[in-house]
């Protein structure tokens, strides 16, 4: 984890037409190798969707946890 530099933190707990994966995928396109994005999502289902998506895109889910009932993920390139 420590080898990844956090490029951005995204709060994806609100509704958005692009959705949590849409918002994150847009940001991952700007991330350089060795960098990561920290995301907060509202529910476990979204967390699982992000992990599935990250695996398909060959991004690394470097860390995951829970904070105040919300789910936190660190997605790296």
């Amino acid at each position: 984890m420590s080898s990844f530099k956090i490029y951005k933190r995204l709060d994806l707990t609100s509704s958005s037409c692009a959705g949590p994966i849409g918002e994150l995928s847009g940001v991952m396109d700007e991330v350089n190798p060795g960098e990561a994005v920290e995301v907060i999502v509202a529910d476990e289902a979204t967390k699982k969707d992000i992990i599935t998506w990250a695996n398909r895109r060959r991004f690394k889910v470097v860390d995951q946890g829970q904070e105040n009932g919300k789910f936190k993920l660190l997605v790296g390139k």
Partner: protein, 381 residues
């Protein structure tokens, strides 16, 4: 002392802010205590949702373009020139001619730009996101007699994320009306796991897709297009052959945001989700497509945001302490085929609850295409 308000961008967002400010600051403008100047590199103001109608030959490009001068309140000064640099530290805009303009308040409304060139072969697509591709789509559809159609969203975020699904459903109806749906296949591809990223809206749309036999392919991030062999390939390693490719190009923030180094790497401006102020610069606001907010790049978003920015600039000018905050409100009328539409209305905390598609909402959508110029751009309401 004269206060100068600069608005950068003559699209939906910038025009609404300018007109709403001008109406509210009528006295201050008259007594020359305040000056409002809008900078736009284009003489024309474009109503982007119109290209959905142009592509299907339901309307003409001329209906969706007006001269910015005709839309602005006469007390707003219009400067039709590109701004090359925004110098936030010195509160200055540097114009292409080399001239500069010092502001007390700045509203950044520079919108989105398209980048077909970022994906190999992508400029060969037809589409409904700009005039050139919409006219190409209209012409291609005119002689289309059936085949495999792929609709692709290249990358997110995009302007109005429901629009690609709207176009797909209208296309399905048009092919049916022409009796060529049976020998056509429609495949909708997107980088994400949903048609649009809100569960409630996805549920409604996937139901509509299933009813009509439209195939949904999630997790498809386009890597390249081969227009000779008519193949689209994804970063995930999938290939699809097509007869007709309808594409939504990669978007980014405006070039001036990148050149001024005030945005993220895609050129979106770091904006406070509640106050809409630009990070570290309380006298600067961002609105509309230009922001980095994870909401929706929609004219309706800009409409809701404009009231907050206008109120807060005025309260600051008048030395008042009360500030309004934006609650993330968005409202979009989305076509669910030819002749039916639904509405997505939500904010940061309340998800949408879209009604079953209705024909009355389709007529509201069509009517709004005409009313946009007066109600929204000229800010008559």
């Amino acid at each position: 002392m004269l206060k100068r308000i600069a608005i950068l961008g003559g699209g939906a967002a910038g025009t609404m802010v300018a007109n709403r400010l001008a109406k509210r600051l009528y006295k201050e403008l008259k007594s020359e205590q305040v000056e409002i100047t809008l900078f736009s590199k284009d003489e024309n103001h474009i109503y982007w949702p119109g290209y959905l109608f142009v592509a299907f030959n339901l309307d003409d490009p001329e209906s969706f373009k007006k001269r910015e001068k005709e839309l602005l309140n006469p007390s707003v000064k219009l400067q039709t020139e590109e701004v090359n640099k925004i110098d936030l530290n010195n509160r200055t805009l540097v114009l292409k001619s080399g001239a500069s303009y010092q502001y007390d308040y700045l509203v950044i409304a520079t919108g989105s730009e398209y980048h077909y060139e970022e994906i190999q072969g992508y400029d060969s697509v037809v589409g409904f996101y700009d005039e050139i591709h919409a006219l190409k789509m209209r012409e291609t559809l005119n002689s289309f007699s059936g085949g495999k159609i792929v609709v692709n969203i290249a990358r997110l975020p995009i302007r109005c994320p429901p629009a690609p699904a709207e176009g797909t459903l209208i296309l399905d109806d048009i092919l049916r009306n022409r009796g060529i749906r049976n020998n056509s296949e429609i495949i909708f591809t997107t980088p994400i796991n949903m048609i649009i990223g809100i569960k409630e809206a996805h549920a409604l749309l996937i139901n509509e897709f299933e009813k009509r036999g439209i195939q949904f392919v999630p997790y498809f991030t386009v890597a390249s297009v081969d227009p000779q062999n008519k193949v689209i390939e994804s970063q995930e390693g999938d290939k699809i052959k097509y007869d007709l490719l309808i594409g939504v190009p990669p978007h980014s923030g405006a070039q001036v945001i990148k050149a001024s180094e005030i945005g993220d790497r895609m050129g979106w401006v770091p904006t406070d989700k509640y106050t809409l102020q630009v990070k570290d610069h309380p006298e600067v606001y961002a609105i509309g497509d230009a922001t980095d907010l994870p909401i929706s790049k929609a004219g309706a978003t800009a409409d809701f945001e404009s009231y907050i920015i206008v109120d807060n600039i005025i309260s600051d000018l008048r030395g008042e302490k009360i500030k309004k905050t934006y609650d993330g409100s968005v409202m979009c009328f989305a076509a669910a085929g030819l002749g039916k539409a639904t509405v997505f209305r939500f904010n940061y905390t309340i998800p949408p609850n879209p009604p079953t598609p209705l024909d009355t909402l389709w007529w509201v959508k069509l009517m709004y295409n005409k009313l946009y110029w007066d109600i929204t751009a000229r800010a008559i309401l």
